[in-house]
Amino acid sequence: MRLLRFILQRLFLAVITLLTLFTLTFFLMRAVPGDPLMRTKEIPEETRRNLEQRYGLDKPLHQQYFLQLSRIFIHGDFGTSFRTVGREVNDIIREQFPVSAGVGIVSVLIGVTTGIALGIIAALYRNSVIDRFAMFLCVAGISLPSFLFAFIFQYSLAVYPLTQLGFNPDTWLRPAGWGEPRDFIMPSITLSLGIIASITRMLKSQMIEVGFSEYVKTAKAKGVSLARLVVMHQIRNAILPIISIIFPILVFTMSGSLIIEGVFGIPGLGRAYMTSIQNSDYNVIMGLTVFFGGFLIIMNLITDILYGVIDPRIRVG
């Protein structure tokens, strides 16, 4: 079984990668000035010593390293936050990752469908109004920061309708908040803009490229109808490279955006990551880094296997 060997090989490499990631993170965190017990107000010396003892920060560095290593890689326990009393990192991941991932999946769904539609139309009707709009969106979506869009949407989709048009706050969107299905809408649209931009641009250029290929010319010459030509020949071949970038986009989007989660008050992992870094919260930083690392590796492996399914030319087994 070549496929099985391939997977085992990759899993072995994954362990090595994660160990390297762990080691680098461990020492880099400690090289950065400041530690979890450093506050605006200095903690009195005796209390600081008591706290270091409680959290095991008084132990020699190599001991801390191996303790954390075994705790994470043998027991699967990421430890407790230094900042939020009693909050376990495993709980943070369990509760907050699904939120980021949910928003991410919805954004990718919106982004990919809209992007494909816009890309096809833009390629078929070059220099039309839709093409120009799509190209404008591509440039804006890639070059403008997402918090700008977030505030534009907050104002135009929530503040303006609610305060100026008298929309009912019971049923209409609120500017920021989390807990109801409608709270997905604005963040997902905001996050999808970047995705729309990259997919539209890529698909448009692929469509045009395929349009010049020999087999399309041949199909045209033998009198295939336009609809059949576009759908069966052009789109089918132009979309293959798109599939190859969807997975990386999905993985990236699911890991949470700290800006979008901040602006819309979404309790996701991006936000947790940001807070942990600001507070030098060693356990949370480490937990989330290793988790993201593992997630990325697994998703990459799945992608590689799926490529083989879609495109027989690169199949392994």
Partner: protein
């Protein structure tokens, strides 16, 4: 197995993610958002505290978000009334011995926990011991030393067992606290959250999970916690068990969102999703244009420049420090740099709201000097140059944070000091924790620092600059100053203390110019029309909603 626990999580994590995605697709409109009109009628308040409370354990919380919740959920032996006066809380009576060193509290017979159990003196004894227990390692343990509770300092240093703390329950309703020295503000300390009662049975049952969820947070205060969705929302409702429930008009206080972003919270306020929210300078104009109710308050913080006066450093020289103090115009600084309504100039270290004997400390111990005096500053610098036989002041740098506001502040100072000192001034703009590390290590010439009060007495500011204080980053050391503060620490007479502080403050700020106070920080916020009785505090829970209510509650707007 590698990743055994985590990979199990992963499955459920992905499943939930897809479930929440489907939830979106099957969008339903059965929303129950509470409109402002509903809240008005129900006496409910929605507000944004900006963040998840880092610790809901009274013995552990050290941040303002946690205080806010704890101050509504719990009550100490003493508390504050609607005007901010210190009055008996969970204790109905307090007797002070003639020496001023023994306080005997009588617990209210009708003081109850939210689960109906009676509040006893043992609950306080347990909480006080827990606070100083080195194994528990509370960051606020030092407050027991400040209160001078007998043996607290030795217990924290592990020199005595916890059981020897001078705070004992002699029976269920009598709690006796013995002090090393009389402490003039002891009663106000007893209203502070570090001294709130804690239930031993709940702590022991829950261990590390104590105070991490609704079930393990059972208080004795006017409100009880009914919901806590991590990083999302929190809600507390009026507690019928509270002894003074008749005085509480609000039925519920809720944080429906935890928005760190001021702009997003502002948008929620404008659309009626919040009844109170903080304002920054950018939103202030919009708020005024939209005729929203803008209010200001002093948040308690005092900001000052600290100069590194360790030997070998440039600002070891007193004349240069005095020149810096003389040169800065506080009014100009406020109008050009901070621009927040409510900011006030600070000439001394002790802010205006600190109590004195009868009036405020500042009214009883005025401290004034001429500022914004560039010519005067240049004269001092000339003298320095003559004394040290130099032709030019050596270049120096300002250590500052990397936020846009911090940058604006340091750029203003840079321009001013370049002119006054006639030398090159650099800005060392670094991330938050790097700044703290450099401050601690004494790697700076000038740093812009600030301090917020831990309790309502001038001491919380004045003891910062004692030689041994860990927060004395500039390395100021003056025996006479240390002696004055030590004397004040041992004195039970407020009149004597005001005199001691006045002398020490003059030494610190004027004569030695060890620090240059600049502003007493103000903040602007928005409050919904009709919401009254909201108190802003510099110490303890802020905002204080215990005595707030909606006026004209029945009239729908």
């Amino acid at each position: 197995m590698f990743f055994s626990k985590a990979s199990g999580n992963m499955k459920s994590v992905i499943a939930t993610a897809f479930a929440s995605a489907t939830l979106f697709v099957s969008m339903n409109a059965q929303a129950q958002q509470n409109t402002q009109a509903d809240r008005r009628n129900n006496q409910e308040v929605f507000l944004n505290m900006g963040d998840e409370p880092p610790s809901m354990d009274p013995n552990k919380g050290v941040d303002s978000v946690s205080y806010f919740w704890l101050g509504h959920l719990f009550e100490g032996l003493m508390t504050t009334d609607k005007n901010g006066n210190i009055v008996p809380g969970a204790a109905s009576n307090v007797a002070v011995s003639d020496s001023g060193k023994t306080y005997t509290f009588t617990i209210r017979p009708n003081a109850k926990w939210h689960d109906g159990k009676k509040v006893t003196a043992k609950d306080f004894e347990y909480a006080f011991q827990r606070l100083v227990d080195p194994a528990f390692a509370s960051e606020y343990a030092f407050i027991a030393e400040t209160a001078q509770i007998a043996n607290a300092a030795e217990i924290i240093k592990k020199k005595k067992p916890v059981g020897e703390l001078g705070a004992k329950a002699t029976n269920d309703s009598t709690f006796v606290v013995k002090l090393e020295n009389p402490v003039a503000f002891f009663k106000s300390l007893m209203a502070f959250q570090a001294f709130f009662p804690v239930r031993k049975d709940i702590v022991e049952k829950n261990g590390d999970k104590f105070a991490t969820n609704v079930d393990t947070i059972i208080g004795n205060g006017p409100f009880k916690l009914v919901s806590w969705k991590k990083e999302t929302s929190m809600r507390m409702e009026k507690a019928s068990t509270y002894w003074n429930a008749a005085a509480i008009k609000l039925r519920a206080i809720e944080a429906p969102v935890m928005l760190k972003d001021v702009g997003a919270a502002f948008n929620n306020f404008r659309t009626g999703g919040l009844d109170m929210t903080g304002l920054d300078k950018e939103r202030l104009e919009t708020a005024q244009r939209e005729r929203l109710q803008v209010k200001t308050y002093a948040d308690g913080g005092v900001f000052f420049l600290e100069m590194n006066q360790r030997s070998g450093k440039l600002f070891e020289n007193k004349k240069l420090r005095q020149a810096l103090r003389t040169a800065i115009s506080r009014r100009e600084y406020i109008s050009k740099v901070t621009g927040v309504p409510g900011d006030k100039p600070a000439f001394g270290l002790v802010p205006d709201y600190m109590p004195g004997v009868n009036r405020t400390y500042r009214q009883e111990a005025a401290l004034n000097y001429r500022d914004g005096d560039i010519a005067g500053a240049k004269k001092l610098i000339k003298e320095y140059l003559a004394e040290t036989k130099q032709s030019k002041v050596p270049p120096f740098s300002i250590l500052a944070g990397d936020s846009p506001n911090a940058k604006k502040e340091s750029e203003y100072l840079q321009a001013l000091l370049k002119n006054v000192f006639g030398t090159d001034v650099k800005i060392d703009s670094v991330p938050f924790k790097t700044r703290l590390q450099k401050q601690r290590d004494g790697q700076f010439d000038i740093v812009s620092a600030g301090w917020g009060p831990d309790y309502l007495d001038a001491m919380t500011f004045m003891d910062l600059f004692m030689t041994t204080n860990g927060n004395n980053h500039g390395g100021y050391s003056n025996k006479a100053f240390d002696e004055l503060i030590t004397k004040a620490q041992r004195s039970g007479s407020m009149a004597e203390r005001v005199k001691l502080f006045q002398e020490a403050e003059k030494m610190l700020v004027v004569t030695d110019s060890a620090i240059v106070p600049i502003i007493q920080r103000g903040r602007a916020y928005l409050l919904a029309e009709g919401l009254q009785g909201v108190r802003r505090n510099q110490v303890g829970q802020d905002p204080d909603f215990r005595f707030a209510s909606w006026s004209g509650a029945s009239a729908k707007k």
